[in-house]
């Protein structure tokens, strides 16, 4: 029986999972939409992973979670590691590209840049207060134009005269796009313009003031869009590396972390059959009205968070009594 490790990356738009062996080879992988239900998505993900996974010769001894729902899914899966997505991406990417200096990442609702030196992150930035120029922006514009978001990249490459689109803000971009359509720009040119706008917005905001050094790895869901890849190549005057598994780097990174830490707990795929529920409780003990999230496994409270002070703590006693 050989050891294996599971990594799950639960993002706003998509949920990714990998199982790796001791040498960090990917044994099973899956990529599905989160559809606003992180726990449900995780169950579907596990089902997919289980199919490809050889349970007779491997056992999963550690499980890591990352992404914006890392805490929730982490407590549902009794994860041995819960890690932020920035560190997870840095570790995952440098395991495949050990010499990487810059990681460009554009996901569903966030975008980040990570600068690496000798395999460790030395600086990073993440978009704040605004999701312009992320995957969510592209998919809403694709919807407006009536084309599947997956086809945008191929269409963008056909354009010879991309239309400039003001992309600083999603709302302004949308009015600009409508205006360009109304005055007669072709759809193809507009799609290419959107892809350029995403790259331009990224470089002018998230990557502002950062020294982008080669090799550059571009990843996240948006890296599947050839139009955006081309736009980055054009503006950076170089070739960015897009990995076939680029969307799995967060999951891979956290699986590697699960392997590297000492904690070991055999992971059981039957978690798919357990019912998980979350409940939001408003504390109400002061005007701050903290929203406390309680997680239940088969009606037992297993974790809670969200309170800013001890008054909102769901006490261990309450936890114990609900477990009794």
């Amino acid at each position: 029986m050989k050891d294996a490790f599971l990594g799950v990356d639960i993002g706003s738009i998509s949920t990714k999972g990998v199982i790796i062996d001791e040498d960090e080879n990917i044994l099973a992988k899956s990529y599905i939409w989160t559809e606003g239900d992180p726990l449900g998505a995780t169950k579907r993900l596990l089902k997919n992973l289980e199919k490809d996974f050889d349970e007779d010769s491997y056992r999963v001894l550690g499980c890591g979670t990352t992404g914006s729902a890392r805490r929730l899914v982490g407590s549902a899966l009794s994860a041995t590691v819960v890690k932020n997505e920035i560190t997870a991406h840095a570790i995952g990417t440098s395991s495949i590209h050990p010499d990487v200096r810059t990681i460009l990442e554009i996901g569903g609702q966030d975008s980040k840049i990570i600068l690496m030196e000798d395999g460790i992150a030395v600086d990073y930035a993440m978009n704040t207060l605004c999701a312009a120029g992320t995957g969510a922006f592209l998919s809403s514009q694709a919807q407006r134009l009536g084309i599947p978001v997956e086809e945008m990249g191929a269409l963008a490459l056909q354009s010879e005269n991309p239309s400039p689109i003001a992309a600083r803000c999603t709302v302004f971009a949308e009015s600009d796009l409508v205006h360009k359509l109304q005055v007669g720009h072709s759809k193809i040119d507009i799609i290419a313009g959107l892809c350029q706008a995403v790259a331009g917005n990224y470089l002018n905001n998230v990557a502002k003031g950062k020294k982008i050094r080669e090799p550059i790895v571009f990843q996240g869901g948006v890296s599947k869009n050839q139009g955006v890849v081309k736009a980055f190549n054009d503006s950076l005057h170089t070739q960015v590396i897009v990995d076939e598994n680029g969307h799995l780097m967060g999951a891979l990174g956290v699986a590697i972390l699960a392997k590297k830490t000492d904690a070991r707990r055999q992971f059981n795929f039957n978690i798919q059959d357990i019912s998980f529920k979350t409940r939001e409780v408003t504390c109400g003990k002061c005007p701050n009205n903290c929203e406390i999230i309680c997680v239940y496994r088969d009606d037992l409270l297993i974790d809670s968070w969200g309170n800013r002070c001890e008054r909102g703590e769901i006490s261990l006693k309450e936890k114990a009594s609900s477990l009794a």
Binding site: K83, N84, I120, L129
Partner: protein, 362 residues
């Protein structure tokens, strides 16, 4: 209001309301209405009243002023009118009028003229019969109280991650604040300080591990006010860091002398860029030279002087190869997003520190 004491209030400002209370009550013989702790409701009031693109501290302060007035104050002292080229106090006055609050708003901006007689006018306006002697004594005591508060809080955050029981440390801090709130004179202020100082230094600490040190600089209000920065210092302590915050009242108001600080940072900045810039650049450079593992810069959204400052701090940190993080706060900041950034920053500092250790051993 001849025969009735004024009931004075101000916005909520970290733990400095204790000092304001002392100064107002002992120095001017007026009543001080302690504003409540800021909550999400405070933010909401400010968000609803103020224009969207004004800076976040303005909204939070406005909200806490409204709450303070509702606690029964008849006089509101506004010290932050100096921002936005002296315009900051004006709109607040209009909001209070529109909402029908009968409050006498004292905008300190009107008295920042550089002439002493204008300050006398202010004092006479607040209390025509104030005693010069009591005021002088209270001013001296308030100065002491401010430096003590900053010192004890700094002691706590420096070691909090390493106390065997964090709760014991918190208890010392809570008792210290409550003693300061009850302070009647310099003796009781000194006593509270001594007690807390000794108690904190006697707390048993975990030994052995290499400490990772981080320094906080930033904007006047958000960097100091724990509510506004979502308790960022506590979050850093949770991560196991030795936390320093150079941006505090003592450093900014009593110790930062432009003519002393500017020569040290002349390679980065040759003139005053804003209310906190000189001190922030100075602290950043100093901490980098002292071998700190990271610098975190904190600002409220839409604070113009702080936006100007970021590229300079980044350059300093770049020159010294020290990780740098800038955090912008407004009422929409989510805890998840903040935690993600802080955790990643911690991982970065830790990886760097470990590597340094390894290199040293070789």
């Amino acid at each position: 209001m001849p025969n009735k004491k004024r009931r004075v209030t101000t916005m909520r400002y970290s733990y400095y309301n204790l000092v304001i209370k002392y100064l107002v009550e002992k120095g001017l013989d007026l009543e001080y209405v302690m504003p409540g702790k800021s909550t999400r409701n405070t933010e909401k009031i400010g968000d609803n009243l103020a224009p969207d693109y004004v800076c976040t501290p303005f909204k939070t302060m406005l909200g806490s002023e409204v709450e303070a007035i509702e606690r029964g104050a008849d006089t509101l002292v506004v010290p932050h009118g100096i921002c936005r080229l002296g315009y900051f106090g004006e709109p607040s006055n209009n909001y209070f009028k529109e909402m029908g609050y009968e409050v006498d708003m004292v905008n300190l901006q009107e008295y920042y003229t550089g002439r002493n007689r204008d300050w006398l006018k202010l004092l006479r306006r607040l209390n025509p019969h104030y005693s010069k002697k009591s005021l002088a004594i209270a001013a001296r005591d308030s100065y002491k109280m401010t430096t003590y508060l900053d010192e004890i809080v700094a002691d706590y955050y420096r070691d909090a991650a390493f106390y065997k029981s964090r709760r014991n440390g918190e208890e010392v801090l809570e008792e210290f604040f409550s003693n300061m709130e009850g302070a009647r004179d310099l003796d009781s202020i000194n006593e509270a300080y001594q007690k807390a100082k000794v108690a904190l230094s006697n707390l048993p600490q975990l030994g052995g591990q290499k400490r990772i040190r981080v320094d906080i600089v930033g904007e006047f209000y958000t960097a100091m006010d724990a509510f506004s920065n979502r308790n960022v210092e506590d979050k850093l302590v949770d991560l196991g860091l030795e936390v320093h915050r150079d941006m505090n009242m003592t450093n900014r108001m009593f110790r930062a002398k432009e003519e002393k600080l500017l020569p040290y940072i002349s390679e980065y900045c040759t003139y005053t860029m804003g209310p906190t810039s000189t001190l922030n650049i100075y602290s950043t450079k100093k901490r980098c030279e002292e071998g700190f593992d990271g610098i975190i810069h904190i600002k409220g959204a839409n604070c113009t002087p702080e936006i100007d400052l970021v590229p300079i701090l980044r350059t300093v940190c770049n020159d010294y190869k020290v990780p740098f993080l800038t955090l912008t706060f407004d009422s929409q900041v989510s805890d998840t997003g903040l935690n993600t950034r802080l955790e990643a920053f911690f991982d970065m500092m830790e990886a760097k520190a470990n590597r340094r250790e390894r290199v040293k051993k070789i």
